[in-house]
Symmetry: D2
Subunit: 410 residues, 4 copies
């Protein structure tokens, strides 16, 4: 409970979401893993299809779109970032849960981009089916051959040719591309390598069935393939798409990326906090059940310290993230960029520490398939890299701070 | 700027306080140290006496008393814990500033105890002069011969003898006793060593000029004597005080301690955050002024990382502390005891890390008398010990968390 | 280069081993993974079979047996712990390399137990084929239902019945049991639950094809199955083995465990140091190749700090481990138990920090199958648990230290 | 006991030194502080004068000069760096002890410079009285107005004028200048600001009684003035010294600094390790004496963890330092520069962590004058700055490592 638990509407949604998680998500966790492990790993999971209509009926659908993007509630639930943050934490507690509520990455970010910047035609063709949960989407930005933390490194090209754009490039960590329902990717590449640094890039819609688009292989994350979602390495060879697939206009890729990033970071961080909370609960549970050297694990001070430090770190990370969400809602993404950068450093590192402590309390079970901990760790670890490594965001925090200091000094 | 900056009244006080600090405190820092170093170290500082009436005129006086203790504004400004927290941070930026506003420890805690639990006579005799800033006070709890983190260890005795109590015991870290205006101490000792654990202790008012009270020596903190405030080691030998000096009643020492602790911890933590903010500002200032290896220090990535991590840690610690204050205001000290314990661990450690980084950026100046950093470090270091060492509060956080978990599990 | 590089013989072996690694191991790393990923994962790898005779020819075979266990060189190379340590580090740089030299766990520990405590018949039947690399072995100690860090928790039973023992129990993390050539396991269980604490346990040889022995499933470590070696969960239901399979005698399980542990920990730690060195090399390599924000990664100070701290930590961990080996060689395992406990805490944590930094420098490639880093991390993480979690060894270090202090005080 | 305990001669000296410490140093610690606190703080201590002849008689005098500097034993004991390291640790356990053995900084470094580079006349005039312990010396390098971590920043000038040099500059942290017997300082300044970067600087001998030399004030370190040794801020205004006072030659200041630094860092680090060992002993002592919550402090797991981690860190730091000493002895200071840089980062940080844990175990006593801990902390903290801040040495370690890697890659 914090000062942030403000609106009755958010509190109501939180209660209903928690109830849904308890009724439909936690009890089905084992079944989801059974379906993945026993079928073709890259098929859509029947269970998730069964749960989606229930979430829709329960009014727990497309909760993520903030008012600015939802065109006054035309799309989505119209929750502001602070209201959604608390819900995102709850969904994030189980890795496959967000999709049930049509709130999973990278679909959320893609839908937000389409809602904000898409033409009516683009929205009709791609946004509506995405909002309905009928198709899924990917985001193709990172490239295998360059340090993508520096976006100016990007080598992919998007070249106008008559009514079409011709797309070439190698991409990897195209997450979600493993799902057979993944139909569309937002692709980032350079339309004009000679333009000013931040005007070289564009984003364009590329259907995954377009000729020249190839899924080369699926990447693993600490041994996990994250099926059926997955992370693809892809090649784009002379892929032709209609010129109308361009988003917002040539050279505006950075602008879109900026707008996309803020909410996405809140989401990632709140899901991580949800994971950390769950890891802490599991840790406490185990600490009460196992006995070593004549007393329960919770009777050992270092276990209690693990619990206490986890609580202190999680609470701080949550408050920081909710404060960043609140800043976005009140002063805007640009003014809040320091706060947004800060949570992107803090939340993954806190989650990793908490999960790691839980693993240690569990012993061998902690690294095995018998707890969700090792998989949680692997996923959280990628978030110190994905969407910019720690150092990039740390530099942003420093830059904002030094500017603020200079302004104060006059 | 955070979600916590709520009431206009708090915002107004913050602005006026900031202006006062800029006009009267920062510019006089050097003069205060000059007065200490050139006079008798243990005399009251003339400068502080000059500033007190100005603070009173400015309406910046006795800001600390929360409504529950202020008898509906009869005493103090009637600010709640959250409102005061932000002000406490600002005053805390300079170690001698709180006294100017009559908001310095241990007077604040003592005044709160007297306002809450004192008889009208006790209030007349001691609270009113304290509220007027005419006298100062001390708190005698810690003992040199036992681990005082475990309050049941306390060996001092308070024995009823007719209309008097006879007091015996050795105390140290009686902070503030160095000041010649320190007239009274709240003394903790056992009235009944055979009672139940938490009913053995009592608190009683002991005038420092009572026969049998001796200041044995002043303690140093690292190499600082913290004159003229100071930390005394004291002996109490057959000290007789009127029975009416007993606070609340025999055996109620723990009860008083509990009530006293919550606000005191908010104050300590917010002052630490103020110190950390100031250290961060000093760090940034130096980073822009000095040059090494062909660029300003701020051109070196490790300095920028020091700045960024300090900002991230301070913001988290502040949010955690303000949230704890908010919890105290809304659900009460007892319900908020986990949060109060958490800040007592987090804030001193954060402050120490930030100050230490600032020292490193300053080089030799950082450990010397030329910056306030080393003294800030020494003071912050004691707060990992004073009022309970880290581990005691860490255990509280764990206990609360495990109980909460058990309650959730039904 | 350290003071420990002493004997010419060790130096010679180190050079030849390094040459072998460069000629036969590193270049075949990709092929090993191809064989695992394309065949039946649980078949023995042809490549390793081809390399074993070459290692034998090169005189790089069974290097691990210290003189005390090698019966004066009857078995093994007769290297002392310090001499072997440096070789173990080199082999450990590639996870599958030790088997090529017949120096992989748990075979090494098992062979040492058989060499030290086995009867001539036991040695004939199991030790000789193991020394020849014809069969492989497992060690069944950890149990899924209890905290095995406290060995007194073990629930498996070994009951004498005429000329046989009847074995019952659930075991997991029986590493190596995935290999089809794994023929024998050393099984730990209680022969007398009523005996004094350290006399309840025994170790006995259990052929894996004995009726009642079932591999229930293979465990994953993070997402890795570590095929074809693997980690099995196994049940032993009324398994009958000849009474002659008992090792050393009933109730002497702890005694054997103690003897086994010292060298095993040196081996684990030196392999971890080898892994850390390789991670550091990979980190430096990448830092020179990739460019971000206009300069190579190595031009960024935080990357150089990652390199420097890795070097400092690895060097300290190696010196600590080699010193522990030296102590074992000179004053014996019992006297060196504090040092042995210390390395078991230090080395895995150092390796994890170094590998984690390397992952961060690599970005997405670091967590994927394109570098060995994520797998190295997963394996190193288990070594904060396997063979006792950090806290157990930390407690040993403290105990030894406090005893030493007490002895000094007289 | 480590592998480094090699020569019988070193072992013998260690035993005799330990005996001397027990007989003459530890029992006099309180008396030393009494003499400082009750007399004129800046007078030479009578007790130390009484102990010096005893140390000489015991053959424990000038142990620090390595063979290369001792002119084949003409001066000093002729111990190599590894042999001396162990002795330096023992002397370092008490801050005032090294002077008793004529082994205190900065005299040791100054004597080494004079022994190596001094002319016969310089040696006659300054080295002999220093070796006899009759006078003391200082080293004037750091300047208040620039980042002295970058030696090219130095602003002091040394200008030839006929048979003299004219010296101008501001210096601070001229340690040892507080002692009335301090007669001479080695002064670093620029003789030719237009020369190549590393040829601009020179070192020259400046008698402290030369006209124009002024001790402006004494600096404090966390409140300590470190009397009677002390750290002076000094001005040099048109100070004239004979041209013969130049050391080695104009422009060779860097060269001398390089030679001086290696052994000096070993000494600093081994003294720090001695301090850390003593802090650990004090921690264990207290942990056995105090009781909290029904058991001795040592019965609390976090105290045992503090003990264990301190032991593990100290042992690693000592091995690293002894290995660096061994490298200096065998491959030379230049080849060992990576190792020397590493210990300068590792040892102070380890000492600080250990001392800080000891403070925490002691509670209030830990920060006060009742234990040596706070003073030890303050001194150790300066060593993360003095003689180059952590980052400078960290960069050296990285540079050496990357070069080594490049060499290996061919």
């Amino acid at each position: 409970m914090t000062v942030f638990d403000v609106t009755p509407r958010a509190r109501d949604l939180r209660e209903r979401l928690t109830a849904f998680m308890e009724e439909h998500i936690y009890p089905n966790d084992a079944e989801v893993h059974r379906q993945i492990d026993t079928g073709n790993r890259w098929e859509h999971l029947p269970l998730i299809d069964q749960l989606k209509p229930r979430a829709q009926e329960a009014g727990l659908w497309n909760l993520f779109l903030p008012p600015a993007s939802s065109r006054d509630g035309k799309y989505g639930a119209g929750l502001n970032n602070l209201e959604y943050a608390g819900l995102c934490e709850i969904m994030g507690r189980v890795w496959w849960a967000p999709e049930v509520f049509n709130c999973s990455a990278p679909d959320t970010g893609n839908m937000e981009v389409l809602a904000r910047y898409g033409t009516p035609e683009q929205q009709e063709q791609w946004l509506i089916p995405l909002l309905n949960g009928e198709i899924r989407s990917a985001f193709s930005m990172t490239e295998p051959d360059v340090a993508s933390s520096d976006a100016t490194n990007i080598q992919s090209s998007i070249v106008r040719d008559g009514d079409e754009y011709v797309i070439n490039g190698d991409k990897w960590w195209t997450s979600g591309a493993g799902d057979p329902r993944c139909k569309i990717s937002i692709f980032m590449g350079k339309t004009d390598p000679t333009a000013a640094k931040h005007l070289q890039q564009s984003m364009i819609l590329v259907p995954l069935d377009a000729p020249g688009v190839t899924k080369e292989r699926m990447l693993t994350v600490f041994g996990y393939d994250d099926a059926p979602h997955g992370h693809a390495q892809m090649t784009f060879r002379d892929v032709r798409v209609p010129a109308a697939n361009m988003l917002l206009g040539e050279g505006r890729g950075f602008e879109i990326a900026q707008g996309r990033l803020g909410p996405g970071r809140i989401h990632h961080c709140m899901r991580l906090i949800g994971q950390a909370e769950r890891a802490l609960e599991l840790m406490i549970e185990r600490a009460g059940q196992r006995t070593a050297f004549g007393k329960p694990l919770s009777g050992h001070q270092h276990v209690r310290e693990a619990i206490a430090h986890s609580r202190m770190e999680i609470d701080q990370a949550r408050l920081l993230t909710m404060n960043a969400a609140h800043m976005m809602d009140t002063v805007g993404n640009k003014e809040a960029r320091g706060q947004i950068a800060a949570i992107k450093v803090v939340a993954p590192n806190v989650a990793l520490r908490v999960i790691d402590r839980a693993i240690q309390v569990y012993g061998g079970a902690g690294v095995s398939q018998d707890t969700p901990l090792a998989m949680m760790y692997a996923q959280a670890r990628t978030l110190r890299l994905a969407d910019g490594p720690d150092i990039v965001h740390t530099e942003t925090v420093a830059k904002v701070e030094m500017k603020r200091h200079a302004a104060r000094q006059g």
